[in-house]
């Protein structure tokens, strides 16, 4: 059986957590509106929960090594083009607010 059951998705659907994961700020109204709309949509997805489905997923296209690219270096944009598109840059690098944690 799948867990957790779709019936319980109202509890599973934590809009604050999802907004954080997705890097979105939501106003209180947006939270209320989207929660209710998305829960309604998820409710409709009950058919998916109840359906009798095959175990295997037979969708993946499989390719041979001929689909791989040869190791030939191709053209680059150039630092000028990169920094021109970027919202903020300095000395050829893209600038962002100070990153504090050093996990890379």
């Amino acid at each position: 059986m799948d867990r957790p059951p779709l019936i319980a998705m109202a509890e599973g659907f934590d809009i604050d957590h999802l907004a954080k994961l997705a890097r979105l700020n939501l106003t209180a109204e947006e939270k209320a509106l989207y929660s209710s709309q998305l829960n309604q949509i998820l409710g409709h997805f009950q058919t998916l929960a109840k359906a009798d489905l095959p175990e295997t997923i037979d969708l993946a296209r499989v390719v041979s090594e001929s689909a791989l690219r040869s190791d030939e270096p191709g053209p680059v944009l150039g630092a000028e083009a990169v920094t021109r598109i970027a919202p903020a840059s300095r000395d050829g690098q893209i600038s962002v607010p100070r990153v504090v944690d050093d996990e890379a």
């Binding site: 999802l18 994961l21 949509i41 409709h44 058919t47 998916l48």
Partner: protein, 485 residues
């Protein structure tokens, strides 16, 4: 003849250009003049670089004069949905997030059009990031249905369909993830084709749902649609999901009157409006009268299609749209703060409501503890749906249904009910899930609003779809139709 140019098909324009009866420059000037008259009413185009268009037209005329014309699309304007990259042109996807982005590279299809000598003609409005079925989700402007300016044109390729129906351009590119070419084509009374998944390269198509998205041709008649399809379909090593040469798709279909047509059981009952049912039933009867074998087919998992689609599509979209964070390009929030705050604010300011909704849903169905129950189940359901369609298409050549249950609704009418809108994709979604080619062909009216019927075929059966469409078109008056504007 100048005032009639906008009513001509691309094929006919091509013939006149070849015969020296017309120059591309004259043609483009006429269309630009009409653009100035009509686009403000319809809102199809978000951008048109007139100087650039005329320069392309002159270059085309010069090529033709030098005997270097490149084929049937030489000098013909093709309008491009604003999620397909054209170097030096905006690539906004009708979103605030990308309002400032000018593409530094060409999509594969853009390169193909250039190689064919076509004129790259403007940027077309769409639902933001292709998410929507009414083009109301555009952050730039509204687009209106040329047949009734109080109504939506459909979406997400609403600008493409409206431009055709308003006589603003003879050919347009759209993109289709769950029906975004076919549904607006139906609503605007034009032809729209979604090819077999992998036939046309997605390199340069801004991704919404990678395993579902396809670029496709839109036009006012089958002949034009085929012209554009042939130019676009080709191998591209830059897209691993695009398979090799496409000759198979154009293998002659044989006699269209011998096509076997399958009608999915119960489809006409699924919330289909009375006049839509009448028009589509008439189309079925037409084929029957031509000698086509009509039979009923079973598609038991039909009810799973919409939930399956919305789980898979939003999951992929939530990941595809992760790159929009204000760091490397696009909108960056002016508010200061940490990098996390900067990204969050940029995204929140840059995305509209529908996009946020889908990102949240997609994030949910992939999240820890829920991915098995939602995403993995959806993939299994997708397998099943595909298998059923392939089995059905082993017994018939095409499946026929309405394209949309009801005609174009009024602007604002369904804005507060996203689920309702999702449910209307019921006829178009399966072709995306199964990777099958599908076409919408105009077949009548519901009141004054166009109605289209929908054909799905087996992989690489584009020729059969086009042949069936041609057979219908030849006996009816819907080809080349334009709204009076």
């Amino acid at each position: 003849m100048a005032d009639a140019l906008h009513t001509l098909s691309a094929a006919e324009l091509g013939r006149r250009l070849s015969a020296g009866l017309l120059t591309s420059r004259t043609l483009c000037e006429a269309l630009i003049a009409r653009y100035h008259l009509v686009n403000k009413k319809v809102g199809a185009f978000t951008h048109l670089d007139e100087a650039d268009v005329l320069a392309q037209a002159e270059a085309s005329d010069a090529r033709r004069k030098a005997g270097e014309g490149r084929g049937p699309l030489e000098g013909i304007p093709v309008a491009i949905k604003d999620n397909i990259a054209v170097k030096g042109q905006p690539l906004t996807c009708s979103s605030k997030m990308l309002a400032s982005l000018v593409s530094p590279y060409d999509a594969h299809v853009t390169e193909r059009l250039r190689a064919a000598g076509a004129i790259l003609y403007g940027r077309l409005n769409m639902d933001e990031f292709a998410m929507g079925s009414s083009t109301e989700n555009s952050a730039i402007q509204k687009t209106f249905n040329p047949w009734d300016l109080a109504c939506i044109p459909g979406g997400s390729s609403g600008g493409s369909a409206a431009a055709l129906a308003a006589g603003l351009v003879p050919l347009a590119l759209g993109s289709d993830t769950g029906g975004s070419i076919r549904q607006p084509a139906s609503h605007c009374g034009v032809v729209g084709l979604k090819p077999t998944y992998g036939l046309i390269s997605r390199f340069g198509l801004v991704a919404f749902a990678s395993s579902l998205d396809q670029i496709g041709p839109m036009a006012r008649c089958i002949e034009d649609c085929e012209l554009l399809l042939r130019a676009l379909a080709s191998a591209d090593a830059r897209d691993m999901t695009c398979f090799g040469p496409s000759d198979r798709a154009f293998t002659p279909a044989g006699d269209a009157k011998k096509l076997r047509i399958g009608i999915p059981k119960g489809f006409l009952g699924k919330g289909v409006g009375a006049e839509v049912a009448t028009a589509v039933t008439a189309a079925i009867e037409f084929y029957r009268s031509q000698g086509c074998a009509i039979s009923e087919v079973e598609l038991p998992s039909a009810d799973l299609a919409v939930p399956t689609y919305y789980v898979v599509a939003t999951a992929e979209a939530s990941s595809n749209l992760g790159r929009y964070d204000g760091v490397r390009y696009g909108h960056r929030s002016a508010s200061a703060g940490t990098p996390v705050e900067m990204m969050t604010n940029s995204r929140s300011e840059g995305f509209g409501a529908e996009v946020k909704r889908r990102i949240l849903l997609g994030t949910f169905v992939l999240s820890a503890g829920y991915a098995d129950a939602y995403y993995m189940r959806a993939l299994r359901a997708r397998s099943k749906i595909r298998a059923e369609y392939l089995a059905a298409l082993a017994t018939v050549d095409v499946l026929l249904t309405p394209t949309v249950p009801t005609p174009a609704f009024k602007v604002g009418e369904k804005a507060s009910d996203p689920l309702q809108l999702y449910l209307e994709d019921i006829f178009t979604i399966p072709a995306n899930l199964a990777g099958l080619p599908a076409i919408s062909v105009p077949c009548g009216k519901s009141g004054h609003l166009p109605v289209g019927f929908h054909l799905v075929g087996a992989p690489l059966s584009e020729a059969k779809l086009l042949a069936a469409g041609r057979l219908f078109e030849a006996a009816h008056g819907f080809a080349h139709q334009q709204a009076a504007l």
